[in-house]
Symmetry: C2
Amino acid sequence: MTSLFQNLFQKKVSGGKIKDYSEMPTIEGMEISAVSAGLYNSKRDDVCLFYFKDGAIFSGVYTKSSTRSVCIDWNIKANKKNIKALLVNTRNANAFTGKQGLDSIIELSKLFISTRKIKEKEILFASTGVIGQPFPLQKIKSVVPELIEKLKRPIKLSWIKQALAIITTDTFAKMSCAVVQSSSDFINIAGIAKGAGMIAPNMATMFGFIFTDVKISQTVLNQMLKRNVENTFNAITVDSDTSTNDMVLLFSTQKAKNREIKDINSPAAKKFEKALNEVMLDLAKQVVLDGEGAKKFITVNVTGASNNNSAKEVAMSIANSPLVKTAAAGSDPNWGRILMAIGKTNEKVKKEKIEIKIGDFLITKYGMIAPSYNEEKVKNYMLGDNILFDVNLNLGKGKFTAYTCDFNAEYIAINADYRS
Amino acid sequence: MTSLFQNLFQKKVSGGKIKDYSEMPTIEGMEISAVSAGLYNSKRDDVCLFYFKDGAIFSGVYTKSSTRSVCIDWNIKANKKNIKALLVNTRNANAFTGKQGLDSIIELSKLFISTRKIKEKEILFASTGVIGQPFPLQKIKSVVPELIEKLKRPIKLSWIKQALAIITTDTFAKMSCAVVQSSSDFINIAGIAKGAGMIAPNMATMFGFIFTDVKISQTVLNQMLKRNVENTFNAITVDSDTSTNDMVLLFSTQKAKNREIKDINSPAAKKFEKALNEVMLDLAKQVVLDGEGAKKFITVNVTGASNNNSAKEVAMSIANSPLVKTAAAGSDPNWGRILMAIGKTNEKVKKEKIEIKIGDFLITKYGMIAPSYNEEKVKNYMLGDNILFDVNLNLGKGKFTAYTCDFNAEYIAINADYRS
């Protein structure tokens, strides 16, 4: 399985439920569990634990928000090696919770320290939910023994439960995986994600958690996460808003039998990185696909920019434009709005060089509408669920692909009415 | 009349029509006319002319879009003194129209050159409408004689007709005016605007046209327009999108009997500038009030930023956030979203210093929710039509006030369905 996204896409747009998670692998050295702490006043699982008996190395990428959650401050200070646990809760973001928020995770960490002989810097936290509400320490604390008791190994069939325990307003569990053949054995990669909005209503978070058993150096792990986040999780947008809690964490238990990857340019590294990128992109696309109210998946492909950064700025400007996204919702080939979104960036475009395609249809060339343009045909294309906006600025070699969804009345309904 | 906005606000939110335009003044040396060129296949006025028999000096501020309309390229090259005419059309933006677009305005300018002895660089153009469609030269050309024939003076009662001729999806005409007493006489200021979206559906433009008879130097006129645009037309946002055609033009016929204003720091300059700012702010607020689908007017007041630029970045981040705007639509005091919007800027905020008020209600202080916070009361306040978000970052003296509207299902309906 390289892309659950393709599979999901078919099912989501036809209204079906996602069933195919049987290929998710076991990651040696890892145990997982999920329980309900009653945070939603229901029995749904809302707290979960990822446990690495012999430790794991990890790398993290976090929201750049300056009002970020205390979890992120905590994780940044954690050890990079020998991580033993990641505890995730929903319903409360532990952001803007002051001293009570920090004291709470200190107290939770102590529970693990005393029962599992873990050090303070060997445990990570991730929270998603309402900002500024007191952290529900007692409820979460009371289920930690149960979480530890329920830890499962092998984990193959428990992924779905885990993926469901981290979501908020998501409509399906987001999972992806890959298997890479090494010289001596197989390397497994498994990931789960949580989305719903770029930030969901006031459930404010995107999470990406990726686990592998690859033997790899800390340095290469860091490099790989950093550069593969750029064209996956950092290439998607639902509503241009940035969460206080976003994080992508990549763990390796180092249990596979491959020769340790120490050089990011080695053939083994490249092979692994390709699979890692596929898993991350697949998860990222699933987040967009489940964007609040989303009915259409939109790919914005920008080439010919003066450099890759400019290409990203242009692609994100198009992908974030409410006018482009509402036009998509209405299946309206309103390409003037794409042009507007290009124009508002810092890229020094030349009008007469811009080529815009919608799907395979050429829209503009030489600074004006293409003679072959046929609105009826393009409109027909845009009635579909999977839309490509392809922009060639013809200035240089910069390129970037962004992913987004349409912007429709359902987004408004979800976000205006959420808490009432 | 200093603020038609207040008046409009009462009428708009109670569903009434705007009637009070009787105070709009005559600007000596200026004539106006509006006719229908059938651009909408209806009889509504869609082309209008502003004519300065003895010339006017002017200053312009234009969209920063790199895919801007050919009108803007044209106007930038025009003379600054002795401007004789401004021709405005709706329905077609003359953007991305290639050679045909430029040739069209050259041909229109020739009509004026031959019949009115105007030079090419003494005429300005403003277009708003669909991007990328061939410019309707013949239709507009055919009504120029009628426009010239219908020029009216005094213009006092013709403003409403003119203001209605420049709108597209706006629901009311936007006008404002002021009278300033000088040592020897009165100075008049009259302005009209067009909005509907920051850019309207694919009617892509905000216009602000302000006319005065003040005797003033070109230098001071330029300085005044530039600095007063910052906290008026550049302080509003409907949907964060930037048009290819936005422009604000300030004309002076120099017919008033005041002593020429040559120093922007003189008392006479300050008195005039205050009135000019009021007119510009009034028009800008009317544009927001008429934002597509807008039901609520939102003021975002940021103080205590490290500098004014940072304050503007924070204010616009809040004002542009779809999540903040949808929360406003739902009258939901979801202040975590305000915090999120603050956090995603470059301002180096200190969480524990941020004070947020909604109306007069203190929401956060010392990095957590204020003990006095009462959600019921704040929700009740947010049910109103006029909402204030007040943020003090307590870092420095930077401040900025932005204006926006809520984001609701009607915006989506207008923009998704517009062209079909």
